[in-house]
Amino acid sequence: MNVRSQIAMVFHLDKCIGCHTCSIACKNIWTDRKGTEYMWWNNVETKPGTGYPTAWEDQEKYNGGWEVVDGKLRLRSQSKTKSVLNIFHHPNQPTIDDYYHPWTYDYQNLFNAPEGPDQPIARPISMITGQPVSIEAGPNWDDDLGGSPVYAENDPNLKGLSEEQRQQLSAVERLVFFYFPRICNHCLNPSCVAACPSGALYKRGEDGIVLVDQTRCRAWRACIAACPYKKVYFNWSTGKSEKCVLCYPRLESGQAPACFHSCVGRIRYLGVLLYDADRIEEVASMPAEELVEAQRSLVLDPNDPEVIAAARANGVHDSVIEAAQRSPVYKFVKIWKIALPPHIEYRTLPMLFYVPPMSPVMSNRGDHTVDSATDDLFSDIESARIPMKFLGNLFGAGHDGKVRYALRKQKAVRWYRRALTVGDVDMATVDRMLREADTTAEEAEAIYQLTSLCTFDERFVIPPMHREEALQMLDDPMEHKQAAGFGFIAAPKRGV
C-alpha cells in the first residue's frame, strides 16, 4: 500500500444556480493576461449543451484520455512513436476557433469620432491582432442554451437516447437544463502529464495538484489534445500551456481556491482523500461499468489504523491525516456514495466529483399531469425531465446505476426532512423510502446538514501544506544572509 494524499473536490449540482461568479473570480486572478483572454480555467456549462471548447466530450474528434487495448492502458492521442511523428503538427489539437476569438471594443471611437450624421459605435477589436473582428462566439455563448436548439442537440451525452427523449429535452414549456461547472479535475492518472514530451506537467506528491512547469514547457501541445476535459489551455502569446492551479498559493496559506470561496450557491466542497497509488493503473484499466466502484475502492479509510500507519510511513503529515478524517469529500464520495466522477470512462480518475442534479418531473403523460398515485416512491426519478441515460453518460460511463442510487438517496433525504419540518408525509413512508434508498435517518440528517447548513469550515477542510518545510528542502534559508537584499542577486563586493 502506497498511501498518498490528494486534495479532492465535490460540486453539488443540485445547488448550482449558474451565476458564473466562480468563473469571474478565477478570471480576475489568473487569466486576465495577454494570451489568456480566451481561457476559462473555471467555466460553467449548460447541460445538455456542447460546452467549452465546443463539443469537448467528443473524443472521436479530440482523442483525449486513455483507452484499454489488449488489457493495457494507453493514451488515445499518442503512442511513443506517434508523439515523435506528431510533434510538428498535432492532429487532435483544438484551435482558437473551438473556444472563441477574444475581443474588446474600440471604445475610444465613442469619444474621438469626427462629427457626423450617425452615432459613433464601438467596433469589436480582436485581442490577438488588434484589428476589427466579427464576433462568432464568445464566453458562455450557449449559456442557458443561447436561445437555440443547436447546442443541446449536439451534446455528445445524448448518445443512446431515444428520439422521443431527445425531443422532450427541448420541447416547449418542458425544456430542461442544468449547470455543469468545470475546473481541472487534478486526476490521479492524468493523461496530460503522461502525454507531455518535455515532462513539464507534473503532479505534486504532497497534495496531488497538477501543474505545468512553465520553464520546461516547450509548446509541443500534446497535453491539450490528451486532456479529455480540455482543461489545459495554450497561451498563444508566451507559447506555453497553462491550466488551473487549484489556487495553490491560496491553499498554501489556508484559503479556499477563489472559485470555491466565491461560490454563491455554496455548491463546492474541498478536502483530502487518502488513496493507494500502487493501484492506480490497475483501477484505470477496469471495464467501464466497474470504474466508478473501482475508483471508490482506491480511496482509503482515513480512520483505519493500518492506513494511518502506511500514510505516516509514506511521509504524509499527521495534520494531513487529521484533515482527511474530517474531509467532506470523503463523506460524499465514499460513505454516502452520492458524488460521482465526470466521464470516468476517460480513465484519468478525476478527483472532482459531482452530486447529480434532481430535475422536475416530466409531466407529459396522459392529461399532462403527474400521476402521484403510484406505488413506486421513486417513480419521479425515473420519469424526471433529464433522462437517466443522459446523466449516466455524464457521470456513470454510460451506466446509470450509480446515478440512480445517488438521486434516490437525495430524494429520500428530501422526504425525510419534509416529514420533519412540513409534516405532510407520514414517517412510515419516509422509513420505507430511507430503507429503499439504502440510507438511515442518521445518514439522511448528516447529508442534509452538510448540504444545506454547511459552514465555511465544514465545506473546506484545507490541510496544512507545510510549505515552510518544503522551502527548507529547496533553498538554503541562510543563502542570502548578509547579502544585498531585495533586487540584488550578487553580493555587493568591493571593486570594479
Partner: protein, 234 residues
C-alpha cells in the same frame, strides 16, 4: 596572397569558429538564465490547416537533408562505394533532391502563412522573419547546388568532408572550399550564419527536443518534502 584568398580565410576559417563560439556561449547562457524562452512557440493553435501543409514538409525535409549531410560527413568512403553503380547514385541524388525541394516547399508555405494569416502575423517577430529568410536562402542554395552541380553526394566527400574535418581538428584548410562556385560558398556561409544566430531565435527548440520522453514512465510526480529530490517519474 591575393585579397580574395584573405577574404576566404576569414569567411571559411575564422567565421565558422565565431559562429560556433557564439552558438555555444549564447545557448548555454540562455538555457541557464532565460529558460522560459526555450519554446517552439507553436502557432498551430491560431491556425491549423496551413500549419499542416507548411510545418510537416518543412520538418521532415530539413531533418532528412541534415541527416544526409551528417552521414556523408561521417562515412564518405561508404557513400562513394554506394555511388559506384550509376543506378544507386541516381536513387541517392534524386531522393536527396526530393527532400531538399520538400524543405523549400514547406518553408515557403510556412512563410506565406506567417504573412497572410492575421493571427499568426500578430505573433511573428522580426527575428522570426530573419531566421526564416536565412533558412530559405540555405534551402534554395542547397537545391540550386544539387541541380546545377550534380553528383554532390560524391564530390561532397572530396571537398566538403576534408574541409569540415579540418575545422573539427582545429586546423582549418580552406583550399578545397576556396575553389567552389559562389552558390556552394553561399550555402556554407549561410549554414554557419544560421548556427550563430540560432540561439537568439525560436530555433532553440531543436536543443530541447524531447528525447527522454521515449523511455520515461507516463506519470511525473514531484515531491517537495522528500530528500531524494524534486523530480522523478512515478
Amino acid at each position: 596572397m591575393s585579397n580574395a584568398f584573405t577574404l576566404d580565410t576569414f569567411l571559411f576559417a575564422v567565421a565558422p569558429y565565431l559562429a560556433i563560439g557564439i552558438f555555444l556561449l549564447a545557448s548555454i547562457r540562455g538555457y541557464r538564465n532565460r529558460r522560459f524562452v526555450f519554446s517552439s512557440l507553436s502557432s498551430q493553435f491560431l491556425e491549423n490547416r496551413q500549419h499542416f501543409w507548411g510545418l510537416v514538409p518543412l520538418h521532415y525535409g530539413i531533418i532528412v537533408v541534415l541527416l544526409g549531410h551528417l552521414v556523408a560527413f561521417l562515412i564518405p568512403r561508404e557513400i562513394i562505394a554506394w555511388n559506384s553503380r550509376p543506378l544507386r547514385l541516381y536513387v541517392l541524388e534524386v531522393s536527396a533532391l526530393a527532400f531538399g525541394i520538400l524543405t523549400v516547399i514547406g518553408l515557403t508555405a510556412a512563410m506565406m502563412r506567417r504573412a497572410n494569416v492575421s493571427t499568426v502575423r500578430a505573433v511573428t517577430t522580426g527575428r522570426d522573419r530573419i531566421i526564416l529568410g536565412m533558412l530559405l536562402v540555405q534551402a534554395v542554395s542547397g537545391v540550386g547546388t544539387a541541380i546545377l552541380y550534380p553528383w554532390g553526394s560524391t564530390w561532397y566527400a572530396a571537398t566538403a568532408v576534408p574541409y569540415l574535418r579540418s575545422l573539427l581538428l582545429l586546423a582549418p584548410d580552406v583550399r578545397a572550399v576556396a575553389l567552389m562556385p559562389w552558390l556552394v560558398k553561399l550555402h556554407i556561409l549561410t549554414a554557419f550564419a544560421i548556427i550563430g544566430y540560432a540561439p537568439f531565435t525560436r530555433l532553440v527548440h531543436v536543443l530541447v527536443a524531447p528525447m527522454p520522453y521515449l523511455w520515461r514512465k507516463p506519470q511525473m510526480v514531484r515531491w517537495y518534502r522528500r530528500p531524494e529530490g524534486a523530480l522523478r517519474a512515478q
